[in-house]
């Protein structure tokens, strides 16, 4: 209801400010054509972030000082620097090091815009998600671990067979949230010249001096994308919780 009023108010404003809807419609397909790339970058980014987050979390929980130190540094450094700096570091900074690498390896330092973006997003979100994974792993009751050890499992076996399967229930919902956040952050990859959603919107806006229109179009598309994924995220979350809700429909979850 309140939303309906907000929409009406916005619509009135659009008309009052002579919003060029014809222009928006004209360029909508062009801007929409960036959506597959936006989603591709986000999906690959999250696929890269998940193993990094798992390693980061295991490192943070490890008693091994080297493993613990490396993952502590990774989480702290990556979370403490802006994503845009990391993207530029990989896209513009790394190639400067290529000259020191042996011939065939040089191309590993000179990455395309999409690869750079996926790497930066994956590494960045991996660091944030390491904390999520750590919390998930720590949520598994200590009694379970003791029980596993009593059965003669090694630490690795306990982790793989007892802890991670249960931790995943805790980890998946926030990971979905991270994916949704990543869809938005993938717009930063447009700055190095990837023709994704935001790049297309900002180029057209500048070219025709109608930034407001194209930015509104881009914002609506991002909003639609994140709403769609949030819906599935909500369903997934409910499904994962079923085993733990005691009274159906009651407010008391476990």
């Amino acid at each position: 209801m309140v939303w309906a009023l907000i929409f009406v108010a916005l619509a009135v404003l659009f008309v009052a400010f002579q919003f060029d809807t014809a222009f928006m419609l004209q360029w909508l397909p062009f801007i929409l054509a960036g959506v597959p790339l936006t989603i591709l970058i986000s999906v690959l980014g999250i696929l890269l972030a998940i193993p990094l987050a798992l390693l980061g979390a295991l490192g943070r929980l490890s008693a091994n000082p080297v493993f613990n130190g490396i993952s502590g540094f990774y989480v702290s450094f990556v979370r403490g620097t802006p994503l845009i700096v990391q993207i530029f570091f990989i896209y513009l900074g790394l190639p400067q090091l290529a000259q020191y690498a042996p011939g065939p390896l040089q191309n590993l330092f000179i990455l395309g815009t999409i690869t750079s973006g996926v790497l930066a997003l994956g590494i960045n979100y991996g660091a944030y998600m390491a904390e999520i994974f750590r919390a998930g792993i720590q949520s598994v009751g200590h009694g379970q671990i003791e029980a596993a050890q009593a059965l003669g499992m090694t630490r690795a076996q306990t982790m793989r067979r007892i802890v991670l399967p249960q931790a995943i229930r805790v980890i998946i919902p926030p990971t979905g949230n991270e994916f949704i956040a990543m869809i938005k952050d993938s717009s930063l990859v447009g700055i190095v010249g990837t023709q994704e959603l935001f790049f297309r919107a900002s180029k057209i806006g500048r070219q025709y001096f109608q930034n407001l229109e194209t930015l509104v179009v881009a914002a609506m598309i991002y909003w639609a994308l994140t709403s769609i994924f949030s819906y599935f995220q909500g369903r997934l979350e409910r499904r994962l919780a079923t085993g733990y809700v005691r009274e159906r429909g009651g407010p008391h979850g476990h």
């Binding site: 397909p29 011939g103 399967p165 998946i172 010249g193 990837t194 500048r206 085993g243």
Partner: protein
Amino acid sequence: MQSIEGIGCPEGIESGEASIKGKNNVHRMQRLASLVAVLAALVVVSACGGGGGSAGGGSAGDGGGGDLLQQVKESGVLRVSTDPAYPPQSFQTETGDFKGFDIDVAEEIAKRMGVEVEWQTPSWDVITAGNWNGRWDLSVGSMTPTPDRRKVLHFSPAYYYVPAAAAVHESNTDITDPATDLDGKTIGVCGACTYEAYLEGALDIPGEYEYVVENPQIRTYDTDSSAIQDLALGDGVRLDAVMSSLYTLEEARKSGTPIKVVGDPLFYEPLAAAIDKEAPADPQPLVEEVSSIINEMHQDGTLTKLSEKWYGIDLTKKQGA
């Protein structure tokens, strides 16, 4: 705990129950396979090349033997960088096609080399900074060969000349002659471009010109159109004036932006194609090839024709400032 299925993680649970070594190994293999799949996907993406508008492999720069020209001819693809926010030089249509004077010139160059163009859209300052690392081969982007750029880029002969002018908000009345009225004013320009260098008194390009603006307050933007947009907010709101190409300013005015060009052009910029000096493969033969094609296009009237098509007049002859 009610049911294991409710947890929604059949795979993990299964491996938790399977204590048989063989089964466990199979599971590990699966995990390895999925990791390999992710890496493979990354490799595919990187092979698809960075952000070009058109599809196609970016294989021309991948090490290999031969000079840059040879590599371009072998791959049949000339990778050209362009900043498609500058009509009528370079812009994109609704369907994503690249259009404009620079685009036509680049496609003609490629045609005469017997190859296809693949467009890449890095930002302008990344193009002018050189060290392209073999990500693209050539810039046909109305670039002025300044001394700084000459340190990192090879330039072809100029393919046309564009007048640089100043514009103010249309409600402004006290700035009429840029030679006297711009002193001490806040002027917007694109960062790392010739207009900024001109205002700083540090422009060093072929041709004659005088620095007539004293003590300007320079505001730099990522691109000319952002500066123009800020000027359009009102006289003196964020900017008093903008310096840019006469045609960029005129184009903005034509599309309804409330600005007006004042006075005569301040200088004429020769604009040329550029090639990275530090290209992984020897760039010299490509520089020579592109230069001789541009000279050819001057002589046979192709450039004049293209200039008239996009600008309405012939800008390809050297003009006195």
